[in-house]
């Protein structure tokens, strides 16, 4: 793998950058905008603000917000119907990972037709998508810059991963002010998501120096600012850095892909409908333990980036420090539940393991994993209390 490629949208970053949304949409050819958001964001007034900016640029808007956390395929179909009926020609999402993934899914079907299932996997999209602008309201998913689209197949009860460079939005507008309206619990969960992106893409088999910079930056910023951001939701400096952490994590994962943690959490989220951050928090330390032997140097780098003093320690020891640091971070932001505590039934573990084996994210995991090994990790992650 001597040749690598790095994809990224045009990125507009900074407090107050939401004001750019109208001009941005107009610049890429929009005339009637389909605005995807969710109830929380609408309640916080961000959707209205976005519509104001869009209208100010002479664009008409149609608002769609019938969606839930871990968005479902039927929600996408409803949105597609609205999109087609309203004669829109561009898609804008303001919100967290859910509105973003719904926006991407509508875009796929709008220009390619068929069903979402037809595009599950890598590079199945054959026609360009409508112009897309994404403004995230959470710091975590990084979906505003990635080539990923994760949607729940309600029939099979699992998350489908749709991966295509065409899913990279045209413009990402990251405005940290939007983060101030989410609660501490959500801030913690999304923060862990961004953190996991950093760690998994850094140890990924597809990592390159270009992705490493972003991955380590995400790890560094989360380690420094997540605690502050959870403690004080109005701390603009913490929010701005968490937004940057999410952005860099997104760029890293979009280009280096993830690993076993995501391969496994995708299955859990499809089943339990819990926030992605919670399942990540439950599984990440155990996957790190599993992977440690495959790339101890990288784990040592992570420990250093998280501020651990590893001077003089043997490599294995130094690497292991990264896991300790992660556990202490999770504990500090009160994400201490195991999978069992958030509602997973032990009986489904064999099935989840089989599904995880087929998840695209497992391909880049630094250590190959068998079904049995995945099962073992699931069981270890079941009860957090027993381990600590």
């Amino acid at each position: 793998m001597n040749i690598s490629k790095f994809v990224s949208p045009e990125i507009i970053f900074g407090p107050g950058s939401l004001s750019q949304i109208g001009e941005s949409a107009a610049r890429i050819g929009a005339s009637r905008v389909f605005l995807v958001s969710d109830e929380g964001v609408i309640k916080a007034g961000w959707a209205e603000r976005a519509m104001h900016y869009l209208n100010a640029s002479g664009l008409e808007t149609v608002l769609f917000s019938s969606l839930t956390t871990n968005p479902k395929d039927y929600e996408v179909l409803e949105g597609l119907e609205r999109y087609r009926r309203s004669g829109c020609d561009a898609i804008v999402a303001v919100g967290g990972g859910s509105p973003t993934d719904v926006a991407k899914s509508i875009a796929i079907l709008a220009s390619n037709g068929g069903q979402l299932r037809d595009y599950e996997g890598i590079n199945k999209i054959s026609r360009p998508l409508p112009p897309m602008v994404i403004a995230p309201s959470t710091a975590g998913a990084g979906s505003e810059v990635t080539q990923f689209d994760i949607i729940v197949d309600s029939e099979r009860k699992l998350k489908m991963s749709i991966i295509s460079k065409s899913l990279v939005p045209d413009i990402a507008i990251v405005d940290p002010e939007l983060l101030t309206t989410k609660d501490a619990e959500l801030a913690a969960a999304t923060g862990v998501d961004a953190f996991t992106h950093g760690i998994e893409s850094y140890v990924s088999l597809a990592a390159t120096p270009l992705t490493d910079i972003h991955a380590l930056k995400a790890i560094e910023l989360v380690s420094k600012y997540l605690r502050r951001a959870v403690r004080d939701r109005q701390d603009l400096e913490a929010n701005t850095n968490m937004a940057m952490a999410s952005l860099t994590g997104g760029l890293a994962l979009s280009n280096a892909i993830l690993g076993a943690t995501h391969a496994m959490t995708h299955q859990v989220d499809g089943l339990l409908d819990k926030h992605h951050g919670e399942s990540n928090a439950a599984i990440l330390p155990h996957v790190m333990e599993f992977n440690l032997s495959a790339c101890p140097e990288r784990y040592r780098d992570i420990a250093v980036t998280m501020g651990e003093n590893v001077a003089g320690l043997p490599l294995q020891e130094a690497a292991r420090r990264s896991i300790d640091a992660v556990r202490s971070l999770l504990s500090d932001i009160d994400l201490k539940k195991g999978l069992g505590e958030i509602g997973l039934d032990e009986k489904v573990i064999p099935q989840l393991s089989r599904n995880a084996l087929n998840d695209a994210c497992l391909v880049t995991n630094p250590r190959p994993a068998s079904v049995e090994e995945l099962e073992a990790i699931y069981r270890q992650a079941l009860w957090q209390g027993e381990k600590t």
Binding site: V7, I125, P128, S166, V168, N255
Partner: protein, 552 residues
Amino acid sequence: MNNQEKLLQQLTGVDSSKLNYYVELKKRNAEVLQQNRRLGILHQLARDINIDMSISDIIGRAFTKLPQTLPCDFLGLVTVHQGELTLKAMAPRNFCRIDNFPAHSPSQKVIDRKKAGIFNLKPEEIDHIRQTPAYPLPLKALAVAPMFKRDDVIGALIVGSIADSAYGERDLSFVQHLADQLAISIQNARLYKQVSRAKKEWEETFKAVTDPIFLIDTDYNVLLHNDRLPPEMNASWNQALSDKCFAKLHGRDRPCPNCPIDEIKRTGKPVFQRWQTESGLLLDLSYYPVFNEEKQLAAVTIILKDVTERTKMEAQLVHSAKLAALGEMAAGVAHELNSPMTVIIGSAQILARELQKEERPEDAEALEDIANCGLRCKRIIQNLLTFSRQDQLPATEIDLNAEVVRVLSLIQYQINRSQIRIVERLQLDLPKLTANGPQIQQVLTNLLVNARDALALADRDEKLIEVTTSLRRREDGRAAVLSVRDNGTGIAPENLSKVFTPFYTSKEATKGTGLGLSVSLGIAESHNGTIEVESRPGEGCTFSLVLPLETT
């Protein structure tokens, strides 16, 4: 490269990129352009294909255009009739031969399914196609589309290529369009042929009629005619400046007064007329209205029937019948008069002889006068009898001069009474000729009567009729000529041609029948002769009966 590496490469996507709208646009543009080009070709074909082209020509024309947009090494048209498939036409014309279509043949499949299809052929699938050695490369791909007549499949259009997998779905839809277009063209050609055959049948019927027929619209324009105009009318037809019937037929520049077309417009019923032309023809005209679908008068059919000959014959017949009746009457009268006249003559002669004996010569002379006049009466009666028996008498050897004397003896008195002098100039050494004597007398009588009538109107110091017999020598033989010349007013040139027309007369209605000359001409012609007219207006005219002596 193992599976994981392959997946990794896909994920990091060195080989893939975000899809580009410009590329998509170019692709769509190319599709639209191709579509346009194909529509253009369909349009061009629709325009190029004439209604009277054969199926083979149509296929040939399409074959020259198709390669511009579609791989096409063969174009064929298969028709289906009662389940039997036939290769009706193809291009190139001698590409192959197909004697029978097996069930697995692409054409049969397409016709059965009524749905176009693409066939990438294995050699055994086309072993029924016998390609001629001029085209050694086998067809590898076919696009076959059914041809419909309403909902029925009437055949299939086959486009073939020697390239592998030459056709895609888009090509197939074009081939289907082409098949639809050709089906319409072929249907049109077929209908056209039917219509033109029916039209030809009617035209031939129209032209087969020997009487002139015209179709004239309500604005007097001649729409159609069957080119059977009598030669006498050709001049006015050819010189006409417009297509109007009044110009073509009558040489006029405006509609004729009392035009029957006006009457038809009014009544919607046929009109029949008789018309005497300038050239002396007698025509029966029948005007029949032609109505359009809205039951409005659209045109008028005119049928001309030349009745000149027939009328002449009829007139002759009538005249002959009259003469026969007259002759019978005359014979009766003569017979009745014969006995009393014999008594009168006999008695007068006996008395005259006795008075001679009694030396009363003056009285005897008076009685001899009576006897002589009686004899003359008897002769007149005899002539009358001879004249009346004309039909029964066959042609015999006659002396033309004797016939003249006989007529004059009958009629001279009458003519003299009109203060007209008759001059006889008879050529004495005329050879005898074979003719019907009484008919010749009839002609001469007629000519003399006409001359007398002509002179009656003339203002002359001396009214004169000259009766001449002579011998004419010509290249085609000798002829006896009997002429009657008067010094009357003559005949106006424009009327000269009409004088032989039955019922044409310049005389008062009570006096003439208009039959005399036409009957006379009939008699002359039955002797292979003719009647010549010569007229100098103001000086008089000459009618000559010309009788050839030798029949040629």
